[in-house]
Every structure is written in C-alpha cells, then in structure tokens.
Amino acid sequence: MSCGNIPPMGIFRVLMILSILLPMALFARPISYAGGYTLMAKSDYLKDSLYVHYSPRANFSFGIEMLEGKRGLPDRSYLRGTWLAHRLNKRNSQQNLYLDGGIDATSGEYFIGAMGDWETRRYFAGFSLKKMKWDTESFFNNYLQMGFAPYLGDYGDLHSWLMIKRKYNGLEERYSTYPVLRFFKGNWFFEAGYEQEIDWDIHLMYRF
C-alpha cells in the first residue's frame, strides 16, 4: 500500500480551521438527532467535499455541500436533503434506509440516491446507490461495505472497525475493492480506505 499520491486536501484544511473555531462536538449518520448539526468532509476519486447539515427531526436533514471536482469535473455546491425512510430498532440491532438528493442551483445538476445499513455492536453492513448528473456526465456511484468490530467498546470509548468496501466507479465503469478502517469516539467519526487506482477514500464527521 503506497501513500505517495495523496490527493489535494484544500477542503480538509478548511475543515481543520473550522474544527478549531467551532466548539467541540460530530456523528456518523446522514441524519443527526433532532436539533443537531453535522459537519462532514469526504475525499475520494471524484471529489473533495464539505457538507454541513441540520436535522430538525430525527428522520430528516438538509444542508449545503461544497464539492471540488476531480478528473476534470467542475466544482459544485449542492442543496441537499436526506430522509430516513425506514428504521427498525431491535434490542441488538438497528436497520436504516435513507433516501437523499441534491441539486446545484447554478447548473441544475443533481444527484439522487438511497443508502441503507444494518448494524449490531459487532457487525456492520451497508450500501449506497447514487445516480449523478455532473457536467456532461451521468453515472452511478455505488458501494457495498461490511465489517466487524474487533472489540466491543463501552460508551465513550474509542470504537474501531475493520471493514471492506466494494465500490462501483460509474464515471470510469470500474469496480474497486479495498480495506477500510473506521474509528469513532464521542462526537468524532473518521473512516479511511485506500486502493491504488482510486487513491484515498476518506470520511470525517463531527456532530454538534
């Protein structure tokens, strides 16, 4: 695994500054608790992005996502919304299905998608299907992700997950499979995966 080709991280520098300015508080789901804000930064083969959303209720969030396009794609700013369409809470598990979408007000370009996950304290499985209209391209960007926690942390501990992700890059019509490490503690969530062809797949979240 080589670390020699790290993508530009302009948005991550912004995030670092924000994280210093904002009071300590971040989370892992596309919707926070009622009244909660989430700051989310992602970097993958398509873009670097920064997304801030607010959840007026536990089943809905809306916000703004700023993207720096890669591979010739232009920068965009989406108005986004996410709806928790289904949740099944059990004693030892939780299952979710989310529907989301976003539109760039300037260009009219958009994405629509669905995400789902099922998790226990030990196991996790999730997927995302996303149809994107971006510049002249229209493509799917999908993934499946599964993993397990090697130890069960208590509330407030550092929680660690070993995962594997299979991603479909619709822009280039290729599949990638790569390992992912996930950590969260308190209001912070960090996830990183790496594959030589697509470089880093990074996800950082903070909820407040």
């Binding site: 989370f27 892992a28 789901r29 919707i31 926070s32 608790y33 009622a34 009244g35 909660g36 209720r57 536990a58 089943n59 928790l84 949740r87 099944l88 809470n89 059990k90 004693r91 030892n92 598990s93 939780q94 299952q95 299905l97 789902g116 099922w118 998790e119 226990t120 304290r121 499985a125 997927f127 299907l129 799917f140 999908n142 993934y143 499946l144 069960l152 942390g153 208590d154 509330y155 407030g156 501990d157 929680h159 299979r166 479909y168 969260f184 503690k185 308190g186 209001n187 969530f189 909820r207």
Partner: protein, 140 residues
Amino acid sequence: MRLSLLSMLFISASNLASAENATHEAEGDHGHMSHQSMGITGEFSNAEVLNSERFERLVSGSPTYTVAVVSVNGMVCDFCARGVEKAFAKDPDVMKIDVDLELGSVLIAYGSEAQPSERDINKRIRSNGLDVVDIEIYRG
C-alpha cells in the same frame, strides 16, 4: 448493476437476521410505558441494571435519589446514544446520565425535587430515532 442486486440481497438478509429477534422481542415493542415490567424476556432485565456498579455509582453520595431506568431498542452504537445524552443534558432537573450499550439501557438521575415524566422521557428518546421499551422510576 451488480451492486444494486447485491444491495437488494443485503436488505433481504438483514431482514432475515432480524426476524428471530423480532419474534423474541415482540412483547417489548408496544411503545407505551409502565412502572411495572412489560414482560421483556431474555438477557435484559432492569434487575440487572439495578444491581450494577453503574447504578451504585450514579446514586452514590446522594442521600435521596430519583432514577429513571430506561430500556431502549436500537442503541447499538456510541453514536446512536450520543444524542440521547445531549437531549437529557438540556433538562435542568437531570443531574447525571449513564448509558450502557451492552444492556441497551439509559440511567437518568434527577434532582431530589424533580418529578420525571415518562411521557417526557419517551419523547426525548424517540426524538433521537430510538424506541423506548420500558421505563421504571425508582426513588430511594
């Protein structure tokens, strides 16, 4: 669209995985509360919570106490529970909160003058997208 097909399989598989627990937990999914046990069976019981070090720690140093013991479904990760703690921390009557992920329970210690309401507790938990199975309030 191989990933789409795999996603459909994933949804089906997770539903199947939940089916056994759903049968087991059906009695606990009523969505209303009582001071009495709601007949939850299996590994969880409030007796286990009451005898725990967590409970002792929560009430230690208080000559009198009022503690709500809340059994919650869906609280499977630290993130899921984080909002619960925040929701109760806003309540000026709440002195301490303890979350137990293993037992799926939240202990809420109130000030001696407080009159905690089951309806309010239920509302705060549900506003976090979790389900209350049982609430029992103990005074000592």
